[in-house]
């Protein structure tokens, strides 16, 4: 079924009306565009994981393993005994409804099961109905129900309609975090062999090849060579990019989206120009060539598996510390999980900027620094030669990516950078930015093409805020610090707010940096003419 037009998509969305039927009596309808395809069995076999063979979510009967019920209940019991977060969140919700209209999927679909409270209730009801004597006794009166095959389908449908963005947890008076419930429930489904293809293929690639896209070492080198050629054409400066260099001071790990596709590649060029400009002694690795982590969207164990490479590589290359690119859930994993998994990281040194001498005390234990922290520090110390007028063709607003905001709190650094490299920076309405920011609608492994309708619905609140500033201030660029954002926003913008381009923060840094020995810049990193230089591009002055 084709995607409805923007004006039609929201016609049946009513945020203040509930269905007639009790939610326990409504089964999910697997309508095309609202669910992702099931994982190919080979992918799971390659990773030694259970699977259900060939099947699709829209199949009437799912090939669940014969002991599916026992397996599911055991998996739930196991998580209740290992995650205080999960156990507590199952116990203390009072259904006050403060979270109800905070979820982007609810705002874009009006489906009550997309209210975080009800998403949690989908599991809470089964835990009460299967494990609690009182729940068994009072049944629906206590919000309890028995586990059925239809509930497994329902879980699949709705836990893959949550992007683990944590917006609800900001508003919950007890801090109940639906992301935590979704993480656990995707793990539970994984134990039955249920997973989605789009989130699992990158895991296999990353495990075997080193990055989500499956770019092999020689290809990565070629890509970088191409980008370096582009930089030379635009700036007149040929720069060197160290790859797999032993003894470098810093290991730089970017998300693969940044060297794979438009518009990520412009951001990557921005990184390279910055490093060249300050003469950073760094290296990129072809083995640890992915900072993002699709494992996190499936199972914590898979997440741990993928990032172990980064530390082995840091050890092998004998670097002093690690610098990470712009990426969303990646930074949740790097910030909140890394040193629990891989620590103590005693073979690295406390990160210190070789240019400004700033010691990153906030990263003294796991020795990893966000590139926006690094660049903000450089700008604050006046170490960059910047010409913000080179971004005068850009009116930019900043999208706080969910996880860097709500799992890390990097709010000021990117804004500080943007204000220094651009002359036209405006904010979106305050209820849609910073800790209240909205997800792109496609995070946590849901950026699949077959999921387009749900992506447009989930991304609607963000797009709507962009539309507001586009009309008000003529915004034409949406900057973000997340590779998935950069991958999915172009489609979202085309759908809801045509005319807005998507870029990383460091793309704009790259435009503004004045390199030693450069020629007169007439084009930005996308070969678009700079303001006042129209018609001059390619002339070489």
């Amino acid at each position: 079924m084709a995607l409805p037009k923007p004006d039609e998509l929201l016609q049946d969305v009513n945020l203040h009306k509930a269905p007639e039927k009790h939610w326990m009596d409504i089964k999910p309808e697997f309508k095309r565009g609202t669910y992702c395809y099931a994982v190919e069995p080979q992918v799971m076999e390659d990773l030694g994981l259970p699977h259900m063979g060939q099947w699709q979510p829209h199949d009437e009967k799912w090939p669940l393993p014969p002991d599916w019920k026992e397996r599911t209940l055991n998996a739930l019991r196991d998580r209740l005994n290992r995650f205080r977060s999960f156990k507590l969140f199952m116990d203390i919700c009072v259904r006050c409804g403060a979270c109800a209209d905070k979820c982007h999927f609810f705002l874009g679909s009006g489906d009550p099961k997309n209210m975080p409270v009800l998403r949690g209730e989908l599991v809470r009801s089964v835990i009460k109905g299967e494990f609690s004597p009182l729940g068994k006794l009072f049944g629906r009166l206590a919000g309890a129900r028995e586990l059925t095959e239809d509930i497994i389908k329902e879980w699949f449908y709705y836990f893959y309609q949550c992007t683990e963005c944590r917006r609800c947890s900001v508003f919950c008076p007890y801090g109940i975090d639906t992301a935590e419930i979704t993480i656990v429930m995707r793990e539970v489904l994984h134990e039955l062999g249920i997973a989605i293809d789009w989130a699992m293929k990158p895991v296999r690639f990353c495990h075997i090849v080193g990055n989500h896209i499956g770019i092999q070492p020689h290809t990565l080198k070629e890509i970088i060579e191409y980008l370096v050629m582009d930089i030379e054409e635009i700036t007149g400066v040929k720069i060197e990019v160290p790859i797999n260099k032993k003894g470098a001071e810093v290991l730089f790990v970017p998300p693969s989206g940044d060297y794979f596709a438009d518009p990520g590649i412009y951001n990557f060029m921005g990184y390279l120009i910055l490093f060249h400009h300050i003469g950073l002694d760094y290296t990129i690795s072809t083995y640890a060539s992915e900072s993002g982590n699709f494992g996190f969207f499936n199972k914590l164990e898979l997440a741990k598996k993928l990032h172990a490479k980064i530390y082995e590589e840091a050890r092998r290359l004998k670097v002093k510390w690690i610098l990470g690119g712009e990426c969303g859930h990646m930074w949740r994993v790097w910030h909140q999980y890394h040193n629990t998994w891989y620590g103590p990281v005693d073979f690295l040194e406390v990160p210190k900027s070789p240019i400004t001498g700033t010691v990153f005390e906030n990263a003294k234990d796991n020795k990893i620094v966000h590139i926006c922290e690094f660049t903000a520090d450089l700008i604050a110390h006046n170490k960059l030669k910047l010409d913000p007028s080179r971004n005068d063709h850009v009116v930019v607003t900043f999208h706080d990516s969910c996880n860097p905001s709500r799992a890390m709190g990097i709010l000021e650094e990117p804004r500080f950078i943007l204000k220094n490299v651009c002359n036209n920076f405006v904010e979106m309405p305050e209820n849609t930015i910073r800790e209240k920011t909205f997800c792109c609608g496609s995070g946590s492994g849901l950026n699949a093409d077959e999921y387009m309708e749900m992506r447009m619905r989930g991304g609607f609140p963000r797009a709507n805020a962009v539309e507001y500033v586009r009309k008000k201030y003529g915004v034409n660029h949406l900057a973000c610090i997340c590779a998935i954002d950069r991958a999915v926003f172009p489609a979202l913008m085309d759908y809801w707010v045509p005319g807005v381009d998507v870029c990383g923060v460091h793309e704009l840094v790259g435009n503004a940096i004045v390199l030693d020995g450069e020629k007169e810049r007439t084009m930005d990193l996308r070969y678009r003419p700079l303001k006042g230089k129209e018609g001059k591009e390619g002339e070489g002055v």
Binding site: D7, C93, L141, P173, G175
Partner: protein, 345 residues
């Protein structure tokens, strides 16, 4: 259905002591046995729940960060929303528990055509504050029934609480607060389509139950006067573990209804959503600092996970690496092998 069942349940709970005391004369059963039983269940139940939560480890440090992180020294960070140490976490928890800070953030979203509009929505916060603070002060006021000599602080609270001196005995402000809060919370649950849709009978039941307690309490003070000295004698007897029904006192059936509903609430408390009162202290998204990169957090059940090592990877991509002109790192792999052998030995 949910509303009706809950209301019926509370009415039944009112009738039980009513019949028990006025028709069957079971004063000591409802005055002594039931209160002891209920508070035994309350304490044991609550301890059980706390132990259950405390026993389950929190594997990761996962604060919900709602403000600027502590990073570069010239960037002001949010001590309350992104606490960087234990003291700041205590502050954050204090504001959360005492003033419901997260609830204060509440917004309302409306869809108008193709535009999403967000408005402030502090009513839920206000209703919750009225109810919880009202309840808390009423509870403190009740302490005077358990103490021979009433400390002056209690008299002072009493004085402030009845400051307006409306009626005789004067109406307590907190009585109005708790009543107003409860009615608001109930009405909201009934009227708001979203909240009504997510409500179980177990969400209405405590509201009706507490409403029953409040109304019976107010009736006792203002309409059906009870023998307060008799009540105090009974209360002190219970508190000092020398329980006895006061002689020659006519306490009044309404008191037993009030007491029985309180006992029901106490016994129900640990096994219901009402444990959020204790649970909130355990919430890992609120009670942990956002200092992950500064201080390592240890997961007690962490286990090693097999990953694709550099040497396996190099072996796999040997040709491509050589083709692209990368040097192979045999030395590292030799070292790794030696390390492995040493470990095995």
């Amino acid at each position: 259905m949910n509303v009706g069942v809950s209301l019926l349940a509370v009415i039944a709970l009112i009738l039980i002591p009513w019949i028990g005391v006025s028709a069957l004369g079971l004063d000591s059963f409802f005055g002594i046995v039931i209160p002891y039983l209920a508070f035994f269940v309350f304490f044991i139940g609550l301890i059980y729940r706390i132990v259950q939560w405390a026993r389950v480890p929190q594997p990761f440090k996962i604060p919900s960060v709602c403000g600027q992180e502590k990073s570069l020294p010239w960037i002001k960070y949010s001590r309350l929303e992104s606490p960087a140490n234990t003291w700041e976490v205590v502050l954050r928890m204090f504001f959360e528990v005492v003033f419901f800070r997260s609830l204060f953030r509440n917004l309302r979203a409306d869809l108008q055509g193709r535009r999403l509009i967000y408005g402030s929505a502090k009513w839920l916060w206000f209703g919750a504050i009225l109810f919880h603070w009202g309840f808390f002060i009423v509870l403190i006021r009740h302490l005077r029934l358990f103490l021979y000599h009433v400390p002056s602080i209690l008299n002072y609270i009493d004085y402030v609480d009845s400051f307006f001196q409306i009626g005789f005995p004067p109406i307590y402000i907190t009585d109005l607060m708790i009543l107003g809060g409860l009615l608001f919370l109930l009405l909201r649950r009934l009227v708001d389509a979203k909240v009504s849709y997510i409500s179980h009978a177990s969400d209405y039941f405590p509201l009706f139950l507490i409403l029953g307690i409040v109304i019976s309490g107010i009736l006792m003070r203002h309409v059906y006067k009870v023998d307060v000295y008799g009540v105090k004698e009974l209360a002190i007897g219970l508190a000092t573990l020398h329980p006895a029904m006061p002689k020659d006192a006519h306490i009044g059936t309404i008191f037993f209804v009030h007491l029985f509903l309180v006992c029901t609430l106490a016994a129900y408390f640990p096994f219901s959503k009402l444990v959020h009162m204790v649970g909130v202290f355990f919430s890992p998204t609120r009670n942990l600092p956002n200092d992950n990169r500064m201080r390592r957090y240890v997961n007690p059940w962490d286990y090693p996970v097999k990953y694709h090592t550099f040497c396996e990877w190099q072996e796999h991509f040997k040709e491509q690496l050589q083709q692209a002109g990368f040097e192979l790192d045999e030395e590292w792999c030799k070292g790794q092998n030696v390390a492995k052998e040493n470990k095995a030995a």
